[in-house]
Homo-oligomer: 351 residues x 4
Amino acid sequence: MNFCSDNTAGAHPKVLAALTAANGGAAMPYGNDELNRRIETRIAELFERDCAVFLVGTGTAANALSLACLTPPWGAVFCHPEAHINCDECAAPEFYSGGAKLVTVAGEDGKISAEAFAAALDAGGFGNIHHAQPAVLSLTQATEAGTTYTQREIRRLADLAHQKGLTVQVDGARFANSVAYLDCRPADITWRAGVDVVTFGGSKNGAFAAEAVVFFDRAKAAEMPFRRKRGGHLWSKMRFLAAQFEAYLDGDLWLLNARYANSMARRLGQGLAKLPGARILYPVEANEVFVELPDGVIRGLEGDGFRFYRWPDDTAATIRLVTAFNTDPQHVDALLANAERHVRRLAVSPA
Amino acid sequence: MNFCSDNTAGAHPKVLAALTAANGGAAMPYGNDELNRRIETRIAELFERDCAVFLVGTGTAANALSLACLTPPWGAVFCHPEAHINCDECAAPEFYSGGAKLVTVAGEDGKISAEAFAAALDAGGFGNIHHAQPAVLSLTQATEAGTTYTQREIRRLADLAHQKGLTVQVDGARFANSVAYLDCRPADITWRAGVDVVTFGGSKNGAFAAEAVVFFDRAKAAEMPFRRKRGGHLWSKMRFLAAQFEAYLDGDLWLLNARYANSMARRLGQGLAKLPGARILYPVEANEVFVELPDGVIRGLEGDGFRFYRWPDDTAATIRLVTAFNTDPQHVDALLANAERHVRRLAVSPA
Amino acid sequence: MNFCSDNTAGAHPKVLAALTAANGGAAMPYGNDELNRRIETRIAELFERDCAVFLVGTGTAANALSLACLTPPWGAVFCHPEAHINCDECAAPEFYSGGAKLVTVAGEDGKISAEAFAAALDAGGFGNIHHAQPAVLSLTQATEAGTTYTQREIRRLADLAHQKGLTVQVDGARFANSVAYLDCRPADITWRAGVDVVTFGGSKNGAFAAEAVVFFDRAKAAEMPFRRKRGGHLWSKMRFLAAQFEAYLDGDLWLLNARYANSMARRLGQGLAKLPGARILYPVEANEVFVELPDGVIRGLEGDGFRFYRWPDDTAATIRLVTAFNTDPQHVDALLANAERHVRRLAVSPA
Amino acid sequence: MNFCSDNTAGAHPKVLAALTAANGGAAMPYGNDELNRRIETRIAELFERDCAVFLVGTGTAANALSLACLTPPWGAVFCHPEAHINCDECAAPEFYSGGAKLVTVAGEDGKISAEAFAAALDAGGFGNIHHAQPAVLSLTQATEAGTTYTQREIRRLADLAHQKGLTVQVDGARFANSVAYLDCRPADITWRAGVDVVTFGGSKNGAFAAEAVVFFDRAKAAEMPFRRKRGGHLWSKMRFLAAQFEAYLDGDLWLLNARYANSMARRLGQGLAKLPGARILYPVEANEVFVELPDGVIRGLEGDGFRFYRWPDDTAATIRLVTAFNTDPQHVDALLANAERHVRRLAVSPA
C-alpha cells in the first residue's frame, strides 16, 4: 500500500505489450525508424498543431534539455521555489544550460503569482551585462502541490513573459493529470495559452521511461537534436521509446490513466477532509494530496504498513499521498479507514 | 537483411520477459528497489571482485559519465582516433567533463599503440598549467575496427598509464564480444589487466537500453551518483533498467549472445575472404567485418536489398558489416552467395 | 563630483609608480618572476599565517575562481540575496563552477542571518542525490549595504558551515574597509573567525586591476593554478599584477586608503542624517551610504551635477553614495550643503 | 640576455605614460568612459571598416571568448596541432565554449595546409548529430613557428571555410609582427582575405596586459559583452585597458615595435644560418627563430647566461629564440658571437 509516488507504479500492460510488438525485425537506430517517424505526427494531432517532438527517457532530461535550448548560459529561468527543476534535479538545468540561473518566484498553491512575476521582470536587468538575462518562464503543470494552472492563469503569465521576450516552458511530468482535471484539450493549456514548449510526461503515468519534449515553434528546437545526442539521451534503439509513447497515445491511454489517478486522489482527499484534526493543504486537483495530520495518526498509518513521505521532510506533520494509474481503490479505502481509526483511538487516549 | 549495426536488432525475448516480470506491484523509485540492490552483487560476482555499479540507458551516457568522474575539466583523455567517444558522441565527454580534451593516439587495427602512447605521455606536460593534464586512458573493447585488445596489450598500456598517475577506462559497448572472442573471464581483461572502470554494454547485445558502468575502485565512483542524476540518467523506474541487466546476466545470456554474433561475423569474414578482389581490412575478432570490395559488387549487394554502411563514408570502397545476437544465418549465406555472383558477373563484363 | 562607485576613482599614484619600477629588464612570464615569488610571503605576513595566494585582475574572477575550487558542479553556494556574486557578475560563479547553484539566505543590513542559515542547512538535503549539495558559505565583507560582519558574527556563521562540512569564502572586494572599520587585524576576521578563503580586493581601493585570492588551507587551492590559467586570468606579464599589490601593501597603503574612504562616508552619513526627511538605511560602517531622500532633493542634487545611483533602480527614492581613497572632502561638503539647500527650498515650496 | 619569450619584456614607456595620463579624475566604470568609447573608432580606422571591439587583458581570454561566440558547445574548431589554443591554454577554449572540440589540421611551417583542411571538411559530418559540428577555422598569425600566412593563403583557407558555413577566427597575439613582415595593411590579411574575427595582440608587443578582440561582423559579437563580463574579463576600471591600447595605436607604436622585433629576429636568423652545423627550421618571418644546433653549442650558450627554451621540450636539439620591441642588439650580437665561438671550440675538440 504505497502512496510514496506515482513512480512506484510499474508500467501499464499496454505499454509493455507495445514493446513486444515493436521488437520484430530490424529497425534503423537512433530514431531513423518507422515508429519514430510516426510519433511526431501523432503528437501533432493530439496538440492540433505542427510541432517538433523529441522523446527522452526521463523527466529531468526533458526539462534540462528543453531549458538549455531556450536560455543562454547567462540566462535566468524563472520558476516556483518548489519547482522540480529547482529542488529535485541536482542542478541539471544549470548543467545542461552551461550555468544559467534559476530565479524563484513565489505564489500560493504551488503556482507562480502573476504579481510576483511582474515584479521579478521589473527587476530583471534586461540588457545589463552584470545581470543574468531573463530568458525563460518555467511552469510546472500539474504543480508540485498537486494543483493545476488554469488556461487563464497561464495566459496571464505567458503574456507577461512574452512582452519581455521570454519563452514559456512547461514541465509537464504530470501534464496529463492537469488536462484530465480541467477536462480541456492539450492545446488549450499549451500553445493556445502561450506556452512555447511542453514536456509531455509518460513515466509517471503508465510508461516505464518515456517523455516527449514538444516544441510548438520548430525554430526553437534547432539545437535539440545535438543536445539530446550529446547528453546521451538518444537511445540507439529509439523504437522502444516511440513504442511506449504510441501505446500511451492509443485510445487516449494517457488521459484515462490520469483521470483514474486523479479520481483516486480526490477520493483520498475527500475522505481525509472529513477527519477531525486533518487539514488539506492545497486543492486536490491532480493526483497528489497534502494533508496535515496529528502525529499519532501519521505514526499509526506508518505502523499499519502504509508508505508515504512526510513533507517537506521527515520531521513534518504533513504527509504527501500520490496516486497512480493503477492505485488500488481498496488501498485508498483502507488508508481512510485506518486513519479514522487512529483519530478515534487518539481522541480517547491522546498521545 | 540488415548489417548496418548491432543496434538495428531488437531486444532479446528474455530481456522483454524480464520487464514483464519486474512489472508486478509497487517498487521504490530511483534505484531504491530490490532488483537494483541485487544487480550490483550479480555484477561483482561476474567480475570476481567488489565493485560499484551504475546502470544507465545508453553507451554515450556510460562513457561520458564515467570519464567525467576520472578527469578534471582541464584533463586530457587519451583515445584512439576512431574511438566512439572521439567520433560518434557529439562531444559528450567534453560536455560531461566540463571541457576536458580528447587527445588521439593512433595505432593499427583500431588499437592504441603502446609506443605512441608512451610518446604522448612524454609530451604530456604534467604539472604544466599551460597544458591539459593527462588524466585518463580510454580503450575501446572491442575496438571500432572489430578487433580485441589482448590481456597483455591492455596490461602494457595500463602500466604506462598508471606509472604516470592516469586511470584506465574501457568503453565496453561491445565488451561481451571481446570476452567471447578471447574465451577469457571478464576479470582477465579488466581489473586483472589494470582497467579501473569499464562500461559493460547491453544495448548492442540483447538489451534494449541498458549499460552498466563498473568501478573497481569505489573511491573513484564517489561523484557518480550525483553525475548520473544531474545528467538525467537516473530513471525514476530504475527497476526496468535492472531487470534488463538481470536477464542479460542470467544463464550467461550476454556471453551466448556475443558468441553467436561473433560466429556470424566470422562466417561472413571467412566467406568474403575467399572472393577475388575482396580484402578484409582487420582481423575479424568481434562482430564486425570491414571488407574492401569492387564497387560493382557493393552496388550489386545494395541493389539486392542488403543494408550496410560504406566506411568511413558514402564514397568509400570499403563496407562495414555488423552482426548481432539474432543475425539470421541465411542472411549471411545469402550475402556471401550474392557477393560471389556479383564478382563473377563483373569478371565477365567489368563495370 | 562622482559618488557612483569606488570604481570611478583611478589608481593611487604609488601603484602607478610601482608599475614603472617593475618595468626594468626582463622577467620570466606567467608569475615565474621575483615580484610574484615575493608577494605570497608578504600576504602571509599580513595575515599572520601561511597561505596560498593567487593574483587576478578582477573581483569577478577572484570570486568565481575561488568558489569553483570549493564546490562541485552540483554544489550549493549560500549567499545573501544582495551578494555581488548573485546579482552583479552575470552568473560567473555558475559558469566557473560548471553549474553550481547559488542559494540565497536573507538577513538585515546586508548580512546573512545565522538563524536563516541554520534553517537553510536543515533543508540542505545532504547526501540526497536529487538536491544540489551544500558546499560553500560565501560572505561579502564589507557587505553590499556598506556594513561589516563582526568577528563574532562570522564565527557563528562559520561554525554552522563547518559543522556541516561546508567551506567559508569571503568576497573581500571591500575587505580593507571592514578591517579599517573594525580596527582589527586581517586575521581576526578571516581564519581566526573560521574563514577558509578570502578575496582581498585592491581594484576598488587604489589598484587599477588587482585582487588577491588567499587560501588559508593550501590543499583547497590545488586546482587554482589550472583554473586561473584556463580562465585566461594568468597574465603573461604577471609582474604587473604583483607590482600593484606590493605597492598596495607597502606602508599599509591598503589600510590608509580604506580608512580615508570610510571617513568620507561617515562624514556624508553624519551630515545627511541631520537633514529633515532623510533616512539612513544601514549603519555607515564601510565606504557606502544608502539614504532615502525626498525626490525633490535627489533631483536637485542631480541637477547640481552630483553623480550617484538611485538604489536599487532608477525609480527608487533611495540613493547610494560611495566614497573612495581619493574622494575630495570639498565634494562631500558640497553635497551636504546642496542637499540642505534643497531641503529648505522644498520646505518653503514643496514640489 | 633573455630570449625565452616576448613576454619577458616589460611594457613600452609610452604605454606606461598613458596609464598616468588616464589616471586623472573620475571615470565611469566597466567601459562606460571616454577612452573606451574612443578606442573602437580608432581600431575601426586602423582596419578601415566598422567593427565591434572588446578589450581584454590576456591572449587566452581573447581567444577563448571569441571562439565561444563562434561555435556551439558541440562545435568543432579546426586549428594547427601547434596552435596556442590547442597546446598552451589549458583547454580554455573548451571551457569557454562549453565543451567544443579542437580538431587539428596539420601543415608545414606552422600553417594549416589547404589540402588537409579540405579533407577535414570532407570528413566533417555536417548535420550528423553524432559528430561535433564544424564551426570555426582558427588561424594563428604569426604562427607558432614564427611564420606568416600570406593574404593568398588566408583567402584560400577562408574560402574553404565559408563555403561550408564556418567562420574564420585569427589568433593574432603576434598579428603586428605579421603585418610588419608582409608590409601590408591590417585589413589586407583580415577581412579583405575573409577573416571574420581577429584578436589583435598588445601584450607581447609593448602593452602590459591588453588585447583587442575585433569582430568585423557586429552580429557575430552579440554574445561577447555577456561572455566577457561573465568570464571576469571586464575590468571595473576599463579606462586602463583602453589607455594602453590608445598608446599602442598612437604613432603606429604597434607597428614600429613589431618591425623592430622582427628585425632583431632576422638578424639572429641570418647570423645563425651561417654557422656550420646550424639548421634554421622555419623561415624567419616574425619575431621567432627556431634553430637546431649541436648540443655543445646549446649548452655553451646556456653556460654563458643566455636564456631560451629548447623546443619542444628540454631534451630537444632545437632552441627557440624570441625577440621583442626592446631586444638589445648587443644581446643579439653577443649570442651570435658566442655561438660561433662554441662552434669553433667544438670543431677542435668535439664533445
